[in-house]
């Protein structure tokens, strides 16, 4: 059960119940659709850009607690960052949820570190990373649906 508590931390459960930056971003510069065919998670990520900087980001959709909380915490953590910074953050995040030897206290990740428990559940990595893949598609202006398969 302790691994389970590591996965479903309070922060994650809170963000699942009360996601931040949830809902359409009217007139967004970019948006992309993400879909996890395995479990049916669906997301739309909206982004406003000022040059290379994300000035606003929102999401909407439905899915499991991990995917919803991940999208919520992602929007909090990328706002105001440059695309290069976001790319680096995404790499660190992917490393956190997939690499058994990853540092749990990677300072650069901030609140995103709560997803460290995901690495014990390989089937859930796709849930945690869907929002990030979708964000990347949005900033790259891709219009095909991003899938985790």
């Amino acid at each position: 059960m302790s691994e389970l508590r590591d996965l479903y931390q309070e922060v994650i459960l809170d963000h699942n119940k009360h996601p931040h930056n949830f809902g359409e971003l009217n007139g967004a510069d970019r948006h992309a659709d993400g879909f996890n065919p395995l479990c049916g998670d669906k997301l739309v990520v909206y982004v406003n850009l000022d040059g290379d900087t994300i000035t606003d980001v929102r999401f909407e959709g439905s899915g499991c607690a991990i995917s919803q909380a991940s999208a919520s915490l992602m929007t909090d953590s990328v706002k105001g960052k440059t695309l290069a910074e976001v790319r680096e953050l995404f790499d660190r995040f992917l490393n956190l949820v997939t690499d058994e030897d990853a540092e749990d206290d990677d300072r650069a990740l901030g609140k995103l570190a709560v997803f460290a428990g995901v690495r014990d559940y390989p089937a859930r990595v796709k849930c945690a990373s869907l929002a990030w893949h979708t964000l990347r598609a949005a900033v790259e202006d891709r219009h095909d649906v991003v899938t985790t398969e």
């Binding site: 389970l4 479903y8 459960l13 119940k17 479990c39 049916g40 899915g63 499991c64 991990i66 559940y121």
Partner: protein, 418 residues
């Protein structure tokens, strides 16, 4: 006496504990707890008898079939043919050569689509299926429709997951060339009235394929009594190995159909000018087949019949009723698929908890259930849910395991404070 104890009294007649001892994996622990395996609609566990058949074939009987003049090859050929005979017996087919070995139900359906379908369907023709089909009984027909310009028609289902039989009958049109329906729905548990469906279709001269993937290990199937034209199933859901499946086909239809794949073993003679094909069933079994798989499937059929469908049916119906009641009492839980005529499947959603999270949380208690769309996305759309959690029952499950699931679902409610 608790309800679980009362239920155990029923079990003692069926001797579920004795059956459990036949399945080595059931003694495994998962995350330090006893494995509770409730994902039987995805695949069932294997009895020792099947494991022995596989290992003994490879250890003492391995040779290619239909080729050697040596004893070992003759033995392997005989064992492979014997397995075909066992499947013939299981389905009560008229002849052993009406049983074609494939990889799985999916390949069986693709075989019919590409062989029978391409030969007999053209532009404007129709294939009729139901809204509750597995993707494997949808996509092969969509491919065929693209190839020949035919149309896929879908019969609707009720809110409880029952097929609307009147609508189904109405949809059999003068252009309908094939009906393909699931016998027992993998995501709803609905048992379709396949006998009525065959009668309705045959009245309009339309052949019927039945997807028996979920039915063959729960109930006896008699293809002659059903009078169906094709019946498909997969070995690994019938307590057999993966990689071996079955297509039953009516001889007169199989005879007319062109081969599905070309290669060795399916020919009579080959020259660069002209090749003639082998007799049934070999015409449809190109290349070296899954010999061990067929032998393992034969052992699984023996095992299933030795336990007997009467006891299995009674025990599983009892578990389904017990599980339906127990789950209905879990606060915030809604069963998806409540047809009066159903078997073995408990599909559900819970307020505030996504099925995927339910699956992960009950896994912490050693309980294996399936979460997702179960390869039936149209069913999920029909019920307005992205996914469901699904517990599915087999002969070795117990009332205590249902209790364990209900207890684990309380952990789900605690986690999400539902």
């Amino acid at each position: 006496m608790s309800s679980a104890e009362a239920a155990s009294a029923v079990e003692s007649v069926f001797e579920v504990q004795r059956i459990r001892r036949d399945f080595p994996i059931l003694t495994r622990s998962i995350r330090d707890q006893n494995l509770v395996y409730l994902d039987n609609a995805a695949t069932t566990q294997k009895p020792q008898r099947v494991l022995d058949a596989l290992s003994s074939y490879y250890a003492t009987g391995n040779a290619n079939i239909h080729r050697g003049v040596y004893l070992l090859s003759e033995e392997a050929t005989a064992a492979y043919d014997l397995a075909r005979g066992k499947v013939q017996g299981l389905l009560n087919a008229r002849a052993a050569h009406e049983i074609i070995f494939t990889r799985n139900s999916t390949e069986s359906i693709n075989l019919v689509a590409q062989s029978y379908g391409r030969q007999n369907l053209g532009p404007g023709d129709e294939i009729l299926i139901t809204h509750m089909e597995h993707h494997s009984n949808i996509v092969p027909w969509q491919l065929l429709c693209e190839q020949v310009g035919a149309r896929l028609c879908v019969a609707p289902i009720d809110d409880d997951g029952t097929l609307q039989l009147d609508e189904f009958q109405r949809l059999i049109s003068p252009r309908t060339r094939l009906v393909a329906v699931v016998h027992l729905s993998n995501s709803l548990g609905t048992i379709n009235p396949v006998q009525d469906i065959v009668r309705m279709a045959h009245a309009r001269g339309v052949p019927v394929l039945i997807d028996g993937s979920q039915s063959v290990y729960h109930m006896p199937v008699d293809v002659q009594a059903l009078d169906c034209d094709f019946y498909v199933f997969t070995g690994h859901k019938l307590y057999g190995p993966t990689g071996i499946g079955v297509l039953y086909g009516r001889e007169s239809l199989l005879e007319q159909m062109p081969p599905y794949q070309g290669g060795g073993d399916m020919i009579r003679s080959v020259t660069f000018d002209k090749t003639t094909y082998a007799e049934l069933p070999h015409k449809f079994e190109a290349g070296t087949p899954h010999i061990a798989g067929a032998i393992g499937l034969g052992a699984a059929v023996d095992y299933l019949l030795s336990v007997g469908f009467e006891g299995i049916g009674r025990h599983e119906a009892d578990l389904l009723a017990y599980g339906t009641n127990a789950l209905s009492e879990v606060k915030g839980l809604r069963l998806i698929g409540t047809s009066p005529n159903k078997a073995s499947i408990l599909s559900f959603v819970m307020d505030g908890a996504h099925p995927h999270d339910i699956g992960t949380i009950v896994d912490a208690d050693g309980i294996a259930i399936r979460t997702g769309h179960h390869c039936t996305q149209p069913v999920m759309d029909r019920f307005g849910v992205p996914a469901t959690a699904r517990a599915s029952i087999a002969m070795y499950n117990t009332h205590e395991e249902i209790d364990a699931l209900v207890k684990a679902l309380e952990h789900v409610r605690e986690t999400f404070a539902v």
